[in-house]
Symmetry: C2
Subunit: 316 residues, 2 copies
């Protein structure tokens, strides 16, 4: 009997759980669908930050301290670029740059982003399937007190400083899920769809803005289970907590869970946080969600898969 | 009384003499016009190997052993690129890459190559004027026993192995000298035009194929003086000797001098070689042309300038 799990994720936190799932499952039993709405063009290159974070996590190349980019990285390109007066706000390591240049080269030859991703993963020894959510461009824009900003302008250049009011995902209406993603979500042997602990506003919701992915999740018979990115009233990484506050929402797991109403069946909160009061249609589970080590990633993946199985077993 | 010198040069050998001239002259008294016919597109980047060699020589950044690229270079980009299955035949150091990316970025914004070059030189602390021969594309093609090859395909990828039969400079007919180059060559205070010890076939002749540069040299009242790239029957660097042989020419300074008939007034051979028999219209001088050190570069520059002055003094 075959079985399959689909994970949806953004960058760093999500990539860790994707890695945990890859350790927990046979390679052919996992498909990872990655946010591409924070992709952008920089220095003439197509940069896909979340795809890179996922690839680096799965290939064991992530830098453990910085939280982004490759470990054992060097910065000679960047140093010289700045000496030449080039833009320094988006840091590109020498090794990391090879991924952007090779991806851009293949895209310019007309190869689809999903194919390029498959080729890069293959060269990096990644055996699970990693897919961009769409081969068509979707771009997050952030409405701030200073007006609309492109995502990387807001996120990296402005360090998320301008208070946010809203988000838009340009191109999402017209974008299609990559066919392999649509097929994975429609599998009859699907046992769980996992929404990784990524930022709801700028990592998960752009994926859900692709209508055939959203529809597939709404229709899926397999349980959809999300993992909290908020622990102890804080985001483990990134601006999720700041964004919740600026949007007038509580900085709690429930506030995140509520954004996924109609999409998810279950939501995993951290073991250190109280189990929230019930929300219609959402079952809460508790697990150790902080992933400091590789065993933490595996344990959380196993706990999430156990919770999904428990949900199925409870069904009348 | 002002005076001015224009140097024409290709890559490594020519760049050394350009550096010698820059040491010998006040910054405002030297213009260096550089071959761009070996420019090419690679990995989506505009690469200008000769401009880079000249800039690196003038900025003191050249690698002394490799003969190309920057010193204190690292190769992490290249290592990762090859791991990803990208093309490895054209080696790009991490620091060097910053020049290609920054140049390509500005060109894509519509900035002319000559302006981009001026900006890069300024950031590298280069005070003499360095100009591409043209802002329009000129591309060397090499007719070999295997047919026509693009220059870098022949030069780097094929290591100059296929025997050559002829060269073509696509775009040269239509290309204009950059205005600053034309103006420098038309200056009334010009005291010498120096053809640096570069490969005659693929470094100097592409510059001379730009018709307003060729015409300016033919009409110039200032002496035009070339320095031999052939010493003791060999090229100091690169395939000049191999090319002379494959084209059925002698591997001698005279054979190179003859290619410049109608263009040059004088030709400097190495002190270790015999002074050639006279050629109509060309006066031969002798100097130590091998540049192993910075003082060698300065001494050769001074010898070339002395020879040019001597020619003027001899005029009836």
């Amino acid at each position: 009997m075959t079985s399959h799990v689909v994970a949806l994720c953004g960058g760093v936190g999500g990539a860790k759980l994707a890695h945990g799932l890859a350790m927990a499952l046979p390679a052919e039993s996992l498909t990872v669908i990655v946010n591409t709405a924070d992709d952008f063009e920089h220095l003439g290159l197509h940069i896909s930050p979340d795809l890179d974070s996922v690839m680096y996590a799965l290939a064991g190349l992530s830098d453990p301290d910085r939280g982004w980019g490759q470990r054992a990285e060097s910065w000679n390109f960047m140093e010289m670029l700045q000496q030449l007066g080039g833009p320094g706000w988006f840091r590109l390591g020498d090794r990391d740059l090879a991924v952007h240049i090779e991806r851009s080269r293949r895209l310019s030859e007309g190869v689809r982003l999903s194919e390029v991703t498959a080729q890069l993963c293959s060269r990096l020894g990644i055996t699970v399937r990693v897919l961009p959510m769409s081969d068509e461009p979707v771009r997050t824009r952030v409405l701030t007190d200073e007006g609309w900003l492109e995502f990387q302008e807001y996120f990296v250049h402005r360090h998320c400083e301008p208070p946010v009011q809203a988000f838009a995902f340009a191109g999402a209406e017209a974008a299609h899920a990559v066919p392999e993603a649509a097929r994975a979500l429609a599998r009859s042997d699907l046992t769980a769809i996992v929404i990784c602990p990524s930022n709801p506003f700028v990592s998960v919701e752009p994926i859900l803005a692709v209508s055939d992915i959203r529809l597939a999740l709404e229709r899926a018979r397999a349980p959809v289970i999300a993992v909290t990115p908020i622990v102890g009233g804080k985001a483990l990484k990134g601006p999720a907590a700041k964004m919740l506050g600026e949007l007038g929402l509580e900085v709690t797991p429930e506030a995140v869970a509520r954004r996924y109403t109609g999409i998810i069946d279950a939501f995993v909160v951290d073991a250190a946080d109280p189990l929230p009061a019930p929300i219609r249609g959402i079952t809460f589970f508790s697990a150790a969600t902080i992933m400091r080590s590789e065993p933490d990633r595996l344990r959380l993946a196993q706990a999430v898969l156990r919770s999904a199985a428990e949900l199925v077993a409870r069904e009348p």
